[in-house]
């Protein structure tokens, strides 16, 4: 087991290195760099000399391999550099938004789990009845309705019928839980509904498979109460693939809520990403993508370990 964990951890390195190389090259392929972006906005006459000087200051005049190695060397020392646009350390830029994004991702995941597991189980138990159909339509609709539109509808409803709007400024949970929740619960619902769809379907199909297993028939035959069969025997076994889906979605919720954040006017990692892409803020884009990829790879690894823990039949070599 220990050997397996070690090997998996080592395998993360090439994946993350690959992500780093790709994003490093991607941002640099985009026409126009940050220096041009900044001075183009000012409209004043700029000499070529000034542009070159600015590039040299940001280290953009060095050869690509050198820039990459310096970036990697920084990461090894936990030094992610500074944002090319604001000049503030990247850790700071990310930290002030991370709290919001993390909380939102956690809340949306909770919404998704609370919807998915009961609904998916119910649909599996009542397969091919109207209950099943309603749940399936509900979850397929969740995949179809854009969460940014759901957000617009929510805001519109509040505005038209209640003359109220969710707070615009983020307040940390411990400072004022009420303010905090009345801002974040709506995006969490809009996004959570969408993400519940995949998990609901996964729960349903996993349950359908498990309910046909021999040990369920044995449990029924020995007269076990249906509730116990469900919770102890069926759900426990059906949850594995659901864990995977939920875990991986969580990783993407952290950095991929680009559009929803826009609608709810949230200053999270998604917005930061869009801003830094349009400003060609190389260092910040690189750091953000690497962060999301890291969380994704790590969650993937964690879920696999969870498998072994939940299901004693799985033993990794």
């Amino acid at each position: 087991m220990r050997k397996y964990i070690l090997r998996r951890l080592l395998l993360m390195i090439p994946t993350l290195l690959g992500v780093a190389v790709i994003i490093f090259l991607l941002v640099r392929v985009v026409p126009g760099d940050i220096v041009e972006m900044r001075y183009a906005g000012q409209g004043a006459f700029v000499t070529k000399d000034l542009l070159e000087k600015e590039r040299a200051r940001l280290g953009l005049d060095k050869p690509l391999w050198r820039q990459f190695l310096e970036w990697m060397w920084g990461i090894l020392r936990f030094d992610f550099g500074s944002s090319m646009w604001t000049g503030a350390p990247i850790t700071h830029e990310i930290a002030i938004r991370f709290q919001l994004s993390l909380q939102l991702a956690l809340m949306a995941t909770t919404v998704a789990v609370l919807l998915a597991i009961p609904l998916g189980t119910l649909a599996a138990l009542r397969q091919d009845t109207w209950v099943d159909y309603v749940v399936r339509v509900f979850s397929i609709a969740g995949l179809a309705v854009p969460s940014f539109w759901l957000g617009i509808l929510m805001i519109l409803t509040f505005l038209l019928f209640f003359g109220w709007l969710p707070p615009m400024v983020f307040t940390p949970l411990w400072k004022n839980p009420w303010e905090n929740l009345s801002q974040l619960i709506w995006p969490a619902l809009a996004v959570g509904y969408r993400y519940s769809a995949v998990s609901t379907r996964m729960t349903r199909s996993a349950m359908l498979e498990v309910l046909r297993e021999d040990y369920i028939r044995t449990a029924r035959a020995k007269g076990l109460v249906e509730k116990l069969i469900l919770t102890r025997h069926a759900l426990k076994n059906a949850m594995l693939p659901v864990f995977t889906v939920i875990g991986l979605e969580f990783a993407f919720l952290l950095g991929g809520l680009v559009v929803t954040e826009q609608v709810f006017n949230l200053n999270g990692l998604g917005l930061l990403f869009v801003e830094s892409v349009s400003r060609r803020d190389y260092t910040l884009v690189q750091a953000l993508v690497l962060l999301v990829a890291f969380v994704y790879v790590f969650v993937n690894f964690f879920v696999d370990l969870l498998y072994a823990w939940v299901d004693p039949r799985i033993r990794y070599q």
Partner: protein, 300 residues
Amino acid sequence: MALNKPLDAVAEVPGEAYRPGWVRAVVRFSRRRRLGAAGAAIVVLMSLCAISAPLIAPYGPLETDFAAQLRRPNVDHWLGTDAFGRDLLSRLIYGSRTALLVGFTSAFLGATLGALVGVASAYFGGRIDLGIQRIVDIFLSFPIIILALAVVSILGTGVFNVIMAITVPMIPNSSRVVRSSALAVREMPYVDAARAAGFGHRRIIFRHMLPNVMAPYLIMLTAYVGQAILLEASLSFLGLGVQEPTAAWGLMLRGAAVEFAETAPWMAIFPGLAISLGVFAFNLFGDSLRDALDPKLRTL
């Protein structure tokens, strides 16, 4: 002659007139999978709308009427007008062209290229497989929207660049799913037989393996159309997709729709409904298709 008798008798049962195979398949599919059939019906309707847009749309998609700005739904403009006095219904009808064009093209390209990579990866196995799968791993650890944004910022906006931006993140996804089916196909005796017969790699991959992973391929294709429409809407909503004045659903939700949402809510409601209905129909159809073709396949 005697042997033919029972067969003739079956053919003569009233109401069971001869129908081509695919018609029977369609009838059976719609009887057994009502939801899927409903989805397929909406898809067909949407495609008809897109094809006959100039015939059924009451106004041109770019026709502005500054005397009729922000009109609420009425007899002349069934779904109201936008900030430029453009008829919303007409723009929605023309928008279905953008949605379907982007949806079908990028889903087809993404699923097909992915299937090719997946089958090749499974067929060659060993180091090639390992190498390809590590690259796929790398791409899978980007959120789709972030990868799409990256491609858009390189290529620029506009319909064809958006198609590229949506296709790229689909390839690794589809290759992973198809590969897992292709691994089983590779072990089939007929693949060995083909190799023993001295066929080349290309012929075995295209003629022997690809046709046998059609089920996951078709399922993904339908699911991807819905996802692609949604992604196009998201990109256009961010202002990074299809550009004004082209009629596109996501684009219609941007800017004025939000600005005037309080006074002209129809501008924010109907395009969203169109996106939802379109994606919903494709997903409904894809879902039933999956149940029908491959009940054990869990991925989406």
